[in-house]
């Protein structure tokens, strides 16, 4: 066993910084930073949900941003109907209704597409999840009523009785709390029976099946769970940015989510959080420097893959391991 104190320490410090920095800057008058960090936290939730498939079960879904879109449109569409009429019983400002719609629709979409794509493995799985993501993208682009590819603004955030999501500090608190809960859940899940089976599937699916495990149902459960959690992130995203468009689910978005997870390291429950933070900060600083910010970003992606095996989590673990050897 390797020494896991170093990664755990980094995780705790990051979590403290993730809450402390934006809030102290916000109360010091730099309101803008709270936006950046809220975005980072929401993306961290989405990336962590992807890690549930990628890191836990080795399922490389390249269409995960679709669930962000499902969550976001589950806020935007009912609010749109409530404002402008029509839509029948879908129309509502109620946050619980938005949540229910997001979770239900994403679970349905995940169950159907998962049942089809999980029949395949490896490269087929990657391409098929990508294709299903694009299917949803083109569907949204073709619906003129929801603004087609221009998207639409969310005029009023989801309404809850005691919580006002249009208050930025409140919204940040909800996002941050959700992230903490999710990480806790994932940590428990990883060391549960379910998590162990997923890890076994990741290592060798045929052997796991030979042990009498119905691997398909375990994979499908992980697939649906990841989708539902990501749709939740989509609900938060719509309330945060108050603007939704098909652009948020294009396959390049899925690639970015994937990048966050890989950058942070898949073997580490906390990896996606670090990855999402680095991604959002990089995006902000590079975009501020030059219009060509995708160039250093793309190069970084290539270098991460070529030189940085196992992501930051893997690197920390290696450093921790050599330290442990030195001490003993």
């Amino acid at each position: 066993m390797t020494d896991s104190r170093l990664p755990t320490g980094v995780a705790l410090i990051t979590l403290i910084l993730l809450a402390g920095v934006p809030l102290s800057l916000y109360y010091a008058g730099h309101i803008f930073w709270l936006d950046i960090f809220t975005r980072a936290v929401v993306l961290a939730i989405a990336a962590a949900s992807l890690n549930l498939m990628l890191g836990f079960a080795g399922l490389a879904s390249f269409g995960h941003a679709a669930y962000l879109g499902i969550g976001a449109y589950a806020v935007g569409v009912p609010a749109y109907y409530e404002t402008y009429g029509g839509g029948g019983m879908i129309a509502s400002y109620s946050g619980w209704w938005h949540l229910g719609l997001a979770l239900g629709a994403s679970a349905l979409f995940a169950a159907v597409t998962g049942a089809i794509s999980l029949r395949t493995r490896g490269i087929h799985f990657i391409m098929i999840t990508m294709a299903f993501g694009q299917m949803l993208f083109y569907l949204l682009v073709s619906i003129d009523e929801y603004g087609a590819d221009d998207g639409m603004t969310v005029d009023l955030t989801s309404q809850f009785s005691h919580v006002d999501l249009s208050d930025p500090v409140m919204l940040f608190g909800i996002c941050y709390g959700s992230l903490l809960l999710l990480l806790l859940l994932q940590y428990r899940l990883k060391h549960s029976h379910f998590g162990r089976i997923l890890a076994a599937i990741k290592q060798n699916e045929n052997r796991t099946r030979a042990l009498g495990v119905n691997t398909f149902y375990y994979k499908l459960t992980a697939y649906v769970l990841a989708g539902v959690i990501c749709a939740y992130a989509g609900v938060l995203m719509a309330n945060f940015s108050t603007f939704i468009s098909p652009g948020m689910i294009e396959w390049t978005r899925s690639g970015e989510l994937m990048f966050m997870v890989i950058l942070g390291g898949t073997a580490w429950v906390f990896g996606p959080v670090v990855g999402a933070m680095i991604f959002v900060l990089l995006e902000y600083f590079l975009a501020g420097l030059t219009v060509y910010w995708h160039l250093p970003f793309g190069l970084l992606l290539i270098l991460t893959v070529l030189l940085f095996r196992g992501g930051l989590g893997g690197m920390l673990q290696r450093i921790g391991a050599t330290r442990g050897e030195g001490q003993s």
Binding site: I116, I126, I128, F132, Y138, I262
Partner: protein
């Protein structure tokens, strides 16, 4: 109307074949999933557009653009992609996604943010009348579309000849069925891989050059169609060139017909207003639904290559 749409569908199918044949070859032989294919499609269009303006001849531009894109493919393979063959698919996917971002930005830097139109020579701008048919009074088709169709068919035939009847093709097929054995027999597999990557990339670039006069060259133009090419590869069976050809033509026709006639078809079974809202949504999803149905029946695609 039907005949014109058939030609359109076949033309889309040929373009998709040019794109997906490279994808399916690089996967079948190098076990490489290559998103940067989309970038070569875009590069082909931009290089061709610039050369057309520079030389004043579209055909000369194509002839000159082929070695240029092949050289770029060679450099990319040598510097980055060549290091990815031994890695898992996820690493390949992310690194080639990084390549797309780099290529998009470099094109933006070099050619500017707006698109680039490709002027056609006068003799290609006209239209050809094919006379009356059973369904239409007279079919009028732009000459250029016919040229694209003919050129695409020629390239496809050339590829089948190369893979099926030459010594290089024999090595390519051998590499696809057992790489280790091929290398043990003294074949320079590394060189073969470089060649196949360059070949696939040139095919993608050719597709870009052919479409450039119709849609103009624009940044990120490959990022949408690459997913459609993936659908073609999946439906055809990953690694199969024959499968890629049939699936490409099939997808091209289905997509074109769906967009052209679905609203009329739906009006037969529902109100015209409902049909007009549903038709664009369904036709946008049509090829993906088709893929889903085919995968339910045959998870390995229609023509899965023999097991290794």
């Amino acid at each position: 109307m039907i005949a014109v749409q058939t030609i359109n569908g076949l033309q889309l199918g040929i373009l998709l074949f040019l794109l997906s044949s490279g994808l399916t070859l690089t996967f079948g032989i190098m076990d490489l999933i290559n998103l940067s294919h989309a970038s070569f499609y875009m590069l082909g269009a931009f290089v061709c557009a610039s050369l057309t303006v520079l030389t004043g001849s579209f055909l000369l531009a194509i002839v000159m653009a082929v070695p240029i894109t092949a050289f770029i493919a060679f450099v990319v393979e040598w510097s980055i992609v060549g290091r990815l063959y031994q890695r898992d698919h996820l690493d390949q996917l992310l690194a080639t996604f990084g390549l797309i971002l780099v290529a998009d930005t470099l094109v933006h830097w070099f050619w500017g943010p707006s698109g680039l139109a490709v002027p056609l020579p006068a003799w290609l701008q006209g239209q050809v009348s094919l006379g009356a048919s059973l369904f239409d009074p007279a079919i009028v088709i732009p000459t250029y579309r016919l040229l694209v169709l003919g050129f695409g068919i020629a390239v496809a035939l050339g590829l089948f000849w190369l893979v099926g009847y030459t010594r290089t093709g024999m090595l390519i097929r051998a590499g696809a069925s057992n790489r280790v054995m091929l290398s043990a027999l003294g074949v320079n597999v590394r060189l073969l891989f470089t060649g196949v990557f360059a070949l696939g990339s040139v095919f993608a670039a050719l597709a870009g050059m052919l479409i450039a006069p119709v849609t103009e060259a624009s940044i990120g133009m490959g990022n949408d169609i690459i997913i459609t090419a993936f659908v073609v590869v999946i439906i055809g069976g990953v690694g199969s060139i024959k499968g890629a050809l049939l699936a490409a033509l099939f997808i091209g026709l289905v997509d074109t017909f769906g967009r052209a006639f679905l609203d009329v078809l739906l009006m037969q079974i529902m109100s015209s207003q409902a049909a007009e809202t549903a038709a664009p949504a369904i036709s946008a999803m049509l090829i993906y639904l088709l893929m889903a149905v085919i995968l339910v029946v045959k998870p390995q695609g229609l023509f899965p290559p023999a097991q290794r």
